[in-house]
């Protein structure tokens, strides 16, 4: 019984931590498949978390909050798309700048609205749990309490499937991938490279904003300057580890979520310092990349601006 409880708890915590990562890394897959690198995911997550927490606090509606979070992330990503696609600037530097701006503006807004405090107040309603929606009574059973998870987890998996379907089973998906592999060839065949790259890059921000919003509304229940601490970059690592495939990236995120869950579950073990445990997800990322990275191939035109007429 105790063992089953621990297992269920591990699973639900894994799902809780991986769902923001799944959304964000799916965003990463979309934009990188279209050939635009985006290391600003971290800042977009932070900005999305701010929007979601602030609106979630004032409207008491997590869904409105999440929507605004997505818009916030999308806005930053649109900026990134302009710099990367239209201005053909440096995508890495732009991403760094967005990490500064996303967090900076996020804290600025929070300080303005919450009396100078760098963190928002706790939101009245977080993202609903699955069993609450189903109307299950879980007050009696400890197992049900342990197995609880947020609805957004399901959405994450649905999105992963949807994006896989679009990328690999539709004409649009083929065009997106063509933009990332050989934009010149795609252009010759009448694909609007600029438009596709704009849409995909902006979508990546929307997804990162959702990811940040989920972190704020289902894990932290507020925005703090450290609510997003490296998840954007872990999601980026998941994209590579998942070989730029939606399903692969999702599985990678589950692994990282599991590492996070272990730090929580093992947190009670007295001989294990919690700081060492907290290194675990990062060490694991490195180890996993050491094994898998050679087998993954990035989109060929990743990170390179496309000049019309180039071969």
């Amino acid at each position: 019984m105790e063992l089953l409880n621990t297992v269920l708890l591990t699973v639900s915590i894994t799902l809780m931590y991986s769902s923001p990562l799944i959304f964000t890394s799916l965003g990463g897959v979309i934009t990188q498949r279209a050939g635009v690198d985006n290391i600003g995911l971290e800042g977009m997550m932070a900005f999305g978390a701010c929007g979601a927490a602030v609106v979630g606090y004032f409207t008491a509606n997590p869904w409105t909050g999440l929507l605004v979070g997505a818009l916030f992330g999308g806005f930053l990503a649109f900026l990134h798309a302009f710099i990367s696609v239209t201005a053909k600037g440096n995508q890495i530097i732009s991403g760094i700048a967005i990490n500064f701006i996303g967090l900076g503006v996020g804290i600025f807004i929070t300080r303005r609205l919450f009396n100078g405090a760098a963190q928002s107040s706790t939101v009245p309603n977080g993202i609903p749990k699955v069993m609450d929606l189903l109307g299950l009574d879980k007050t009696e059973s400890r197992l049900l309490q342990s197995a609880e998870f947020d609805v957004t987890v399901i959405f994450g998996f649905l999105f992963a499937f949807l994006i896989w379907f679009i990328l690999y089973k539709t004409k649009t998906g083929l065009r997106v991938r063509a933009c990332g592999e050989h934009p010149g060839a795609a252009d010759t065949l009448g694909v609007n490279v600029t438009l596709i790259r704009y849409i995909c890059t902006t979508l990546s921000g929307v997804m990162a904003g959702l990811g940040g919003g989920i972190t704020a509304l289902s894990i932290a229940y507020r925005f703090t300057p450290t609510v997003i601490s490296g998840q954007g970059f872990i999601a980026l690592a998941a994209v590579i580890f998942g070989n730029w495939k939606p399903i692969g990236a999702t599985l990678a995120c589950l692994l990282f979520g599991f590492a996070q869950a272990l730090t929580v579950i093992l947190g009670g073990v007295p001989w294990m310092p919690s700081e060492i445990l907290k290194m675990l997800p990062y060490v694991l990322t490195l180890l996993v990349l050491m094994v898998f990275v050679e087998r993954s191939t990035p989109p060929r035109a990743l990170g390179q601006p496309y000049f019309k007429g180039q071969s």
Partner: protein
Amino acid sequence: MRKLIVKALKKPFTAVVFALIVGFILGAVALAVGGYDPVRAYNYLFTGVFSSTNRMMQVLVDAVPIIFTGLAVAFAGKTGLFNIGADGQFILGQITGAVIGYYVPMPPVLHPVFILLCAFTIGGVYAGLASWLKNRFGIHEVISTIMLNWIAYYFMIFIVNMKSVKVPGSQHSPEILSSAKINFFSREFRSTEEGMSFVDKYPLLKPFVQTDAGYAIILMIGVSVLLWVILKYTRLGYELRAVGYNRFAAEFAAMPVKRNAILSMFISGGVSATGGALLVMSTSYYITMLGASEGYGWDGIAVALIAGNHPIGCIFAGLLYAGLKFGGLEIQSRMRAPTEIIKIMIGVLVLFIALAPALPRLAERLDRKE
């Protein structure tokens, strides 16, 4: 006139000036939207830095660690490597400074030198690890160094939180021995009778006595020049830059590309860690349990980008950055306007530096119209 504009647009420096102006304008917009008077805010920003020699010296003191991380990122950048891991290496430098500074008693001059050597080596190896991971496993240094940053951060918390290290009733490690401190004048000296009369006697030296100014400043200038000379006038520097320009050409010219990449990251990491150790030895004196990394490495990335990866440029970019940060605090304390406005300004500045490659193209387009 048009010719002048075209010519100016082709210079990299124009992008920086342009970025700076736009940064200030958008910062003003953000302030105005937030309901703060931008003119007053910028006034505080300016007077916050320039109203006294003490303040200006404080900016220089604050700039030292940022310049070091900036130099680290810039040096790796010249080799075509992006050292996002400067933050983690800096933290390891801080740990080295705090641990050796307290636990290994040594004579005064030797103590700081020993700390710096250790910090340089440890930071260098840590950064070299990222380079090795890239050579051996093909893991991009942008990903690996970010992971290493977090590992270093939690390692610092781990060290501070150890029962034998943490000062009871506090959140930090014990203060380093005075033999490891490298200020020109000790902090105690400031408030003694002797110190006060000294300031009265030599008013010009006031900022040196009343701030944490120390030998770190001299070392900072020395290291900047040294890195510049290495890059510009030595064979090693030539090879490193060659790899940065065109990895394959360098390989074809029989340069040891992989070895040089590790060496470049080693130096870069060492420089960053040196900055961390200097911060502990001249300002903080101990390491603290923090909720998040202080972000010196990220500041350094912005500095290197503003400086266009030029070591001497890093000094000025670092001063600019530290000045903005210091003046930003003044805005916050006087107007209760969020100091994050500085972060936003820096972000906008960097954003426009990302746009820099567009400027020469814009110039060409203008040229063609003529």
